[in-house]
């Protein structure tokens, strides 16, 4: 890099930083929560005024699938389109050849850890109404389990776990169907009973009686439709990332990722 390039780079970064800091001057100082955030916090698990509640003690999960449910639904679609784009670029079905993978210690440990990672992904998703977590996070962890298998045991081991590219697509679509059916159940109820209910409605509103059942006795498992829809999201995101990595780890030539030459 020449001196001229360095001067151009440093002055560009300095100018850009100055512009951005000037833009940030209008923001409030750190430590101020906006009224909209306080509305969500006040209403998300409010027993006494249940008109706007989401029945989820975790306010983030409440916002995710109740207050801003449509947003999340469209984010799910964006994620789906991203996977479809990758699958279009590399449409050729890859051959899942079995190679030796890494050493026997790594392989044995990975097989054990695989089960634990899947269990923790399920736990993070199901208890997301009480603890931090959710379908996106659980799905990312679920994909890590399969990526560990791909790296340590080679891609050819996946058929032994009854998993390949087309099956991963199938399971992902099952998750999408779960999300979609939970979205349209209130509409079907509205058409059948003649009352007002909206798509993706979780809890009753002052003018609309429809609400998914909540289990308030089990404090950790409340939230109406939030938990099943998070499970759908877990399956969708987890299988989506698995598909991505199955496609992206495909290599031309004979070398498998992390394995020996076959």
């Amino acid at each position: 890099m020449s001196l001229k390039d360095s001067i151009i780079g440093i002055s560009f970064v300095a100018l850009m930083t100055a512009i951005l800091i000037y833009a940030f001057l209008g923001y409030p100082e750190v430590g101020f929560v906006r009224p909209l955030g306080e509305f969500y916090l006040y209403n998300t698990f409010n027993f006494n005024e249940q008109g706007w509640w989401s029945a989820s003690p975790n306010a983030v999960t409440g916002v995710l699938w109740d207050y801003r449910g449509y947003d999340t639904l469209y984010e799910t679609m964006v994620f789906y389109v991203g996977i479809v784009a990758i699958a279009l670029f590399f449409e050729k079905e890859s051959s899942l050849r079995r190679t030796s993978g890494m050493t026997v210690i790594v392989r044995a440990t990975t097989k054990l850890v695989f089960v634990f990672i899947l269990t923790s992904a399920m736990a993070i998703t199901i208890f997301s109404v009480k603890t931090p977590g959710g379908g996106f996070q659980g799905g990312s962890i679920m994909a890590i389990a399969y990526i560990a298998i791909i790296i340590a045991l080679s891609r050819g081991f996946l058929p032994e776990l009854r998993m390949d590219l087309s099956k991963a697509h199938l399971i992902k679509i099952f998750g999408l169907i779960l999300i979609f059916s939970l979205t349209v159940i209130p509409v079907a109820y509205s058409l059948a009973s003649g009352t007002v209910a909206y798509a993706l409605q979780n809890q009753p509103k002052p003018w609309s009686e429809f609400g998914y059942p909540t289990f308030l006795g089990l404090y950790s498992l409340s939230g109406g439709m939030v938990i099943p829809i998070q499970v759908g999201e877990l399956v969708h995101v987890g299988m989506g990332f698995t598909i991505m990595f199955l496609i992206l780890t495909e290599r031309e030539g004979k070398k498998e990722l992390g394995g020996k030459r076959s």
Binding site: G9, F12, V13, M16, T17, L20, I21, F24, Y27, E29, V30, G31, F32, V33, R34, L36, G37, E38, Y40, L41, Y42, N43, T44, F45, N46, N48, P57, N58, A59, V60, G62, V63, L64, R68, D71, T72, E75, V78, F79, G82, I83, A85, I86, F89, F90, K130, P132, G134, F136, Q137, G139, S140, Y219, V237, G240, F241, M244, I247, L248, E252
Partner: protein, 122 residues
């Protein structure tokens, strides 16, 4: 003005401008991709800083038996956390798509340097 309260914004501004510089001036597609990913993280950091509440703040999960109005005056902003949760996954999907495009470019041209690709065409 309290300068200490503005420090996170200065950090984010520097991070974002470095990333914009890399996206505009670096010729390696992989470096451009890394810069896009880091720019996403800078924006996520901006969201989290915006939603933070100083003092004895608590996470946005209501403890059993706490009054909702007390909770609303203590907890950090859940909306910022919500945006980051979705943005992280979408950012990862974006990076995976860009990786696929980069691999495709490499297989087609044999290089991921944009300058060399330009020379190949001319």
């Amino acid at each position: 003005m309290n300068i200490a309260g503005q420090l996170p914004y200065i950090l984010i501004a520097m991070m974002a401008s470095l990333c914009i510089y890399a996206i505009l001036f670096k010729s390696n597609l992989f470096k451009k991709m890394l810069a896009i990913f880091l720019l996403t993280d800078a924006v996520n950091l901006l969201y989290i800083v915006q939603g933070y509440r100083s003092g004895n703040s608590i996470p946005p999960i209501i403890p059993p038996g706490m009054d909702p109005s007390e909770f609303a005056s203590l907890a950090v902003d859940p909306l910022a956390h919500y945006f980051v949760v979705t943005a992280v996954v979408i950012g990862l999907a974006e990076v995976a798509t860009l990786t696929a495009l980069t691999i495709y470019t490499y297989r087609h041209y044999g290089t991921i340097e944009t300058r060399k690709i330009k020379e190949l065409r001319g």
